[in-house]
């Protein structure tokens, strides 16, 4: 494993034209983002609505074409990839969305959803694909009892784990979690986070975790980068960020974290 970062982003800029007023200036969603993502680590990208988080994720998987800037994945320039090379790249990088109910087809069963990427790419025969789907479901804690159920018959936590199993079907190296914890209760968040951490250790995955929830990211991620008005304004380990936030926006985010009395574990049983 090389020391070179898995992903290096330089000067990434994305401008959107406004729909109505032709005369007005374009919206600058990303204004020159520099960011590296190290192998096997969890990097959180924290910012508020409109800070450019999702645009960055979409540029990274080539769902958006950046206005300017470079994205290197394992030394390869991503923005110029075409055809077969682009398809191969997309197998390595998978995206997990916020609303699993909307992201998963309501008409397919759980095992069909997980094996669909394999089917599209013509990997194995139907029996092999189903076997692989069941294996993947097992790694995220879904039993074969869930295999023939449809997404809307599953709970929110089960659905999000199903989405993870699907994202893993093509053995990606980088998983981008775009608000993958939003809308879940805290105990379900903790359950999904535990599954993801376990997978990362076993499979050597790298995560870019996009969220507005600094408190959650401070316990889930190795490092936190703060995105504000299309720029990374600060990047540090969570403990450092909370102890000494440097940028004024980081200070605002830290101040907005709601405090909860610490849990006295002495009263708790394991």
């Amino acid at each position: 494993m090389s020391d070179e970062p898995l992903v290096t982003i330089r000067g990434l800029t994305k401008r959107y034209r406004r729909r109505a007023a032709a005369s007005s200036a374009p919206v600058e969603a990303l204004a020159g983002v520099d960011l590296t993502i190290e192998r096997g680590r969890v990097l959180a990208l924290v910012g508020e609505s409109g800070s450019g988080k999702s645009t960055l994720a979409r540029c990274l998987v080539r769902l958006e074409e950046p206005t300017s800037g470079e994205i290197h994945y394992e030394g390869t320039e991503v923005c110029s990839l075409r055809g077969e090379a682009l398809r191969a790249f997309r197998e390595r990088v998978q995206l997990l969305f916020q609303d699993s109910a909307a992201a998963l087809s309501p008409r397919l069963t759980a095992s069909e959803i997980v094996s669909e990427p394999l089917e599209i790419l013509g990997r194995g025969d139907a029996a092999q694909r189903r076997r692989r789907a069941l294996e993947l479901m097992e790694t995220v804690g879904l039993s074969s009892a869930e295999a023939d159920r449809r997404p809307l018959d599953l709970s929110g936590g089960q659905r999000q784990r199903l989405a993870i199993a699907r994202a893993l079907a093509l053995k990606p190296r980088l998983l981008i979690l775009d608000e993958a914890f939003a809308g879940l209760d805290a105990s379900i968040q903790a359950q999904v986070a535990a599954v993801l951490q376990d997978l990362r250790r076993r499979e050597g995955l790298t995560y870019l975790c996009i969220s507005h929830d600094l408190a959650l990211m401070s316990v889930f991620a190795d490092e936190v980068a703060i995105l504000f008005e299309g720029r990374i304004v600060e990047r540090a380990e969570a403990a450092r960020l909370f102890a000494a936030p440097a940028h004024f926006h980081t200070r605002a985010l830290v101040a907005a974290v709601l405090s909860v009395p610490p849990l006295a574990e002495a009263t708790a049983t394991s």
């Binding site: 105990s187 316990v219 708790a268």
Partner: protein, 303 residues
Amino acid sequence: MGGRDPGKIIGRFRRQGANRHSEFRTARAPPYHARVPGLLEVTDLAVAYEAGGSPAPAISDVTLGIEAGEAVGLLGESGGGKSTLLLAVLGLLPPHARVIRGSIRWRGRELIGLPPSERRRLRGAEIAIVFQDPALALNPVRRVGSQVAEVARAHRAQGAARCRADALAALAEVGLPDPDRLYHAYPHELSGGQRQRVVLAQALCCRPALLLADEPTASLDSTTQAEVLALLSSLQSRLGLAVLMASHDLGALAALARRVLVMYAGALVEEGTPAEVFGAPRHPHSRALSRAYPRPPRPPRSA
């Protein structure tokens, strides 16, 4: 939030409000600061939803009391019965819900079995609610000011100018800048935090004694969430308002409530101060919720 649609419920509330007869306009709410003990008393309440013949219990044997001016938190996970309890208190349970047994007393008066017209008179005037998603709670094609003034029109025997003045006062009260200009804005012109403040202004326009809040900050960014919680807390103490806030977010409840009730599978399983319930929980469910809550490495100053 399952299949319940707050927008629809509010829509029904509006239609009922709009069709009210003049007799309902007469009584003004009792003095706002009246400190009557035992404002709300819920006893052995059980509600079930009719689902394909067999009723599915949503809440069972819930007993709780709220004093005037008290801030109470209701902690529980999705599907635990929090929203059902709030809607039962408000008298807005969906048609397929049944109150199996129990009593809900408001200032000593039984609400179960009260005619809909009487419930309407209380709803919005004495007991108000704020839902999770302000985008669903506001009518997108009407200016926000008239949507706030509508509450005064429904409950107060007074002219349009007075209702408008009440609405402007309510918009100022919830910390919206330049209420005169904002009165004419449409919901889509406002940010999420501003929209939730407008919904709060609607709820407070007629000076209710009890505000029910169902995950009022769950759809907001963290900094906006902190602002809205601080606003709720200051309104609660300044106006002597009783608040019952349902949430799965321990942080949001800790910022507002002096007393927390824990709801699990439709029943209340624990009660205490936030320090007790979150710091030294007794029930396994409260303990699991507290343990799962992400606490940053260095706790920031308390909100």
